[in-house]
């Protein structure tokens, strides 16, 4: 803890970029889980397990995206997590909302090289 943080920033950034690339397939799997939930919700056939899987995927994305320098991604994932935590009341309007947030989230994730 004796060196100033700035002296480590460059090294850490490069190492984090490697981790980002290594973990990118996992991030895409989580986004697909969310898209599956959104698709089912859009057709009025959202299964409870799909909703729970989506909630868990959103929770994980909320925790990690900001850590990789994407705070907007964490905020969007938190909103999606809260939406999918609802056991009732997930209607078409909520489905459209989820679709919009998910579009934004996918754009944020794909914006990072």
């Amino acid at each position: 803890m004796s060196d100033p943080p700035d002296s480590h920033a460059h090294d850490l950034e490069a190492l984090l970029q490697t981790l980002w690339k290594n973990n990118y397939p996992t991030l895409l799997e989580r986004l697909k889980t969310l898209r599956d939930a959104q698709s089912e919700l859009a057709t009025g056939s959202l299964k409870d397990q799909t909703r729970k899987d989506g909630e868990a995927a959103a929770h994980k994305l909320a925790g990690v995206l900001g850590t990789f320098g994407l705070p907007q991604g964490s905020k969007l994932a938190s909103k999606i997590e809260a939406l999918l935590a609802q056991e009732t009341g997930l209607d078409g309007e909520r489905g459209r909302e989820l679709g919009e947030w998910l579009d934004e989230l996918e754009a944020v994730v794909s914006s990072k090289p």
Binding site: M1, P5, A9, L19, T26, H59, K60, G63, G66, T67
Partner: protein, 125 residues
């Protein structure tokens, strides 16, 4: 001062980023575990200076893991910091009542995580 930190988190990416952060920025030694059960065993084997413990894990969650750690005399005094993405009021009250040293929130800043931990634990080095 050289510190040894045990990170317990079921998510590979979070565990890897936290480990990288503490090793690179603070020069601390990091050991990891991907579940509460494994974490308790590693705590007994490694005797870390502090434990960074995820809250939401399948099987034994963070609060339960913390309570189990406190039942083992040889590791009961190791300070534990909870790491969580949950920020609801009910959760905050629950965590405060547990007796952990601190609660840090995801997403964390990898550049300042070690400093946040040092501040929370009163480490001056």
């Amino acid at each position: 001062m050289q510190r040894r930190i045990l990170i317990i988190d079921d998510e590979d990416d979070i565990r890897q980023v936290a480990a990288l952060s503490l090793e690179t920025v603070a020069g601390w030694e990091v050991v990891t575990a991907s579940s509460g059960r494994q974490g308790i065993r590693r705590a007994q084997d490694e005797k870390p200076d502090a434990i960074l413990l995820d809250v939401m894990m399948p099987g034994m969650d963070g609060p339960t893991t913390f309570q189990e750690l406190r039942k083992i005399p040889e590791i009961a005094e190791i300070p534990v910091i909870l790491l969580t993405a949950k920020v609801q009021g009910a959760d905050q009250k629950r965590f405060a009542n547990l007796g952990v040293s601190a609660v840090l929130f995801k997403p964390f800043d990898p550049l300042t995580l070690a400093q946040q931990m040092s501040d929370a634990l009163g480490w001056k080095d």
